[in-house]
């Protein structure tokens, strides 16, 4: 009888007494995450303060502690700043383009009939689902100099889209936006749907244009949602790797299309400068960590509780 009268909390306290249950359940996760995630994070920091090259990797030579030497090297290298600026600029352009396209289409979705809406949703779903690798190969084929459809349609005989730095960034950027606008579109569309129709209707009766109701009603009401989509896009676009690596064959002509991620990778695995590459990767991680903190704050404001 007494057992029935006990509340759940009591039962749990009794059953769990003396045994560290939660830690037992967390053990498998820890067994994977500590060596394959935590330790590499620590090791990345460690590698970044050592002179670590091919001689140390395979020659068994002792590695020398160089403190912030690698950081001094990369910060003193004009190339690093160029790549950093390029990465930030490219990511910023991608974020703006993704949001503009995604938001415009989300609004469009609210004003069309069921058939166009379904068609656009399905098409977006396909682009969203396509692996980065697949998207890269198809867009490369479309923009191929000789056999590509784009050149044929535009009558550009043999024009190479992957030669000039900015043209290349344009094509790669278009591929990435194609992959990423659906997330923005679907999320914002769901958000707009949640806005009571009467609010938008009232604005319409009061003579508000589409443009006005977008900026004066939809944007303010969706602010938390937009914050999350923006930061998600920033994180996503800042660390893009596959498209750049595959479409520009490892960073473009003379590495002109390198972004931080690919630069770190090539420095480590291409030039066997593992210490330097790690330092670049650390800088990138720190930048993304700062963005992550913004993300958590945005989640918090949105009302998510831990």
């Amino acid at each position: 009888m007494t057992a029935v009268a006990l509340t759940g909390r009591h039962v749990r306290a009794r059953a769990g007494r003396g045994r560290p249950r939660p830690w037992l359940y967390l053990l498998p996760a820890a067994a994977v995450l500590v060596p394959m995630f935590g330790y590499p994070v620590y090791m990345l920091g460690l590698l970044s303060v050592f002179d670590y090259r091919q001689a140390q990797v395979s020659g068994g030579q002792p590695s020398t502690f160089v403190g912030f030497g690698n950081y001094a090297t990369i910060f003193g290298d004009a190339r690093f700043w160029e790549v950093l600026a390029q990465t930030v600029g490219f990511a910023a352009a991608l974020v703006v383009a993704t949001l503009a396209v995604g938001a415009a289409l989300a609004v469009l979705l609210t004003r069309v009939g069921p058939v166009p809406r379904t068609a656009l949703s399905l098409a977006a779903l396909g682009a969203w689902a396509a692996p980065a690798m697949t998207g890269s190969t198809v867009w490369m084929f479309l923009f191929d100099a000789d056999l590509g459809l784009v050149n044929q349609v535009l009558g550009l005989d043999g024009f190479n889209w992957f030669y000039d730095r900015w043209v290349t960034f344009g094509v790669v950027g278009a591929t990435i936006v194609w992959h990423s606008f659906p997330l923005v579109m679907v999320t914002l569309y769901a958000g707009i749907q949640a806005i009571p129709g009467s609010v938008l209707e009232a604005a319409g009766i009061d003579g508000a244009s589409v443009w006005q109701s977008f900026w004066k009603i939809i944007v303010p009401m969706l602010r938390p949602l937009i914050a999350i989509v923006v930061i998600q896009s920033v994180i996503w676009d800042f660390k893009v790797f596959t498209q750049i690596y595959v479409m520009t064959n490892g960073g473009g002509v003379a590495g002109q299309n390198t972004v931080l991620n690919v630069y770190a990778y090539q420095t480590a695995f291409g030039s066997s400068e593992y210490g330097l590459g790690s330092a670049i990767a650390v800088v990138m991680t720190l930048i993304l960590l700062a963005v992550t903190l913004l993300y958590i704050r945005a989640l918090h404001r949105g009302g998510e509780r831990l």
Partner: protein, 272 residues
């Protein structure tokens, strides 16, 4: 109705443009070699053929890569589901010291740029003697899918009323029974959704396959193996498109299957 005409047309055009690359991929995969290499490109084909598929699956060993990819992804899914389920139970059903810390760590782990960890992970995998093995990919993908999987499972576990477990325990069921016989089936739909994401992550991985599988070509997975078709002189576009199609279909199927959950999950992050 009239004022809807222009938005409708715009939406249909955008839908067409968005779907076009995928259409082009499938179409090119079905085109005979002559049409692919023709300088007069047509947006249709009157002679569809499976030649490209046959060639990539047999000649270039793509069947093998397909199996490797599927094997890695499915192993990751099964392990990730089990491990994430247990961890999610830990952080939702118990209050313990550092619980919030653990949760925040999962959240931060999701944000760590995994590409940045390629360098140290290369050495970890090498020291474990796992370079050139599929096990290395399983381990790494497992680690990268877990934080998200746990984070997502947390919501599903929390959604099951604790009273059900308590009732079972009062009836004399042990912890393990409650966990596997009662809680597990109830969160199964959530587990499926989570698994799809793990599957897609593992299936799409390019950078780790590219880095860890150096010399054992037989152990390559699809995304990295696709590079085989890029030749300095002339790319085998028919083969590349056929391989890309093979790689996209499973993801597309899974994606469509869980898209509703996906959208509500995204909305859920900010809704309440």
């Amino acid at each position: 109705m009239k004022r809807r005409l222009i938005p409708n047309i715009v939406a249909l055009v955008v839908a067409f443009l968005t779907a076009f690359p995928l259409y082009w991929m499938v179409l090119s995969a079905l085109k005979p070699a002559g049409e692919i290499q023709s300088l007069d490109v047509k947006p249709w084909t009157l002679h569809p053929t499976l030649d490209n598929f046959v060639r990539v699956l047999t000649g270039e060993g793509f069947g093998r890569y397909l199996l490797n990819s599927a094997g890695v992804a499915l192993t990751v899914v099964v392990l990730s589901a089990g491990v994430a389920f247990l961890a999610a139970v830990a952080v939702t059903r118990f209050t313990f010291r550092f619980r919030t810390t653990v949760l925040i760590m999962f959240l931060i782990a999701q944000m760590v740029p995994v590409e940045a960890l390629t360098i140290p992970l290369f050495f970890v995998v090498r020291d474990l003697g796992l370079l050139n093995t599929l096990a290395s990919l399983v381990l790494v993908q497992l680690a990268f899918t877990l934080p998200f999987a746990i984070w997502m499972m947390r919501g599903f576990v929390a959604g099951v009323p604790e009273a059900l477990e308590e009732a079972a325990m009062i009836d004399g069921a042990g912890r393990a029974t409650v966990l596997w016989r009662i809680l597990f089936p109830l969160v199964a739909p959530g587990l499926v959704a989570t698994s799809v994401f793990s599957f897609i992550t593992a299936w799409n991985d390019f950078i780790f396959a590219r880095t860890f599988i150096i010399s054992a070509k037989d152990n390559q997975t699809l995304p990295a193996a696709l590079l085989v078709f890029f030749k300095p002189d002339e790319n085998d576009w028919g083969g590349i498109m056929a391989a890309s199609t093979l790689m996209t279909i499973p993801v597309l199927i899974f994606f469509v299957a869980v898209q509703r959950r996906l959208v509500s999950g995204l909305g859920g992050a900010v809704k309440d």
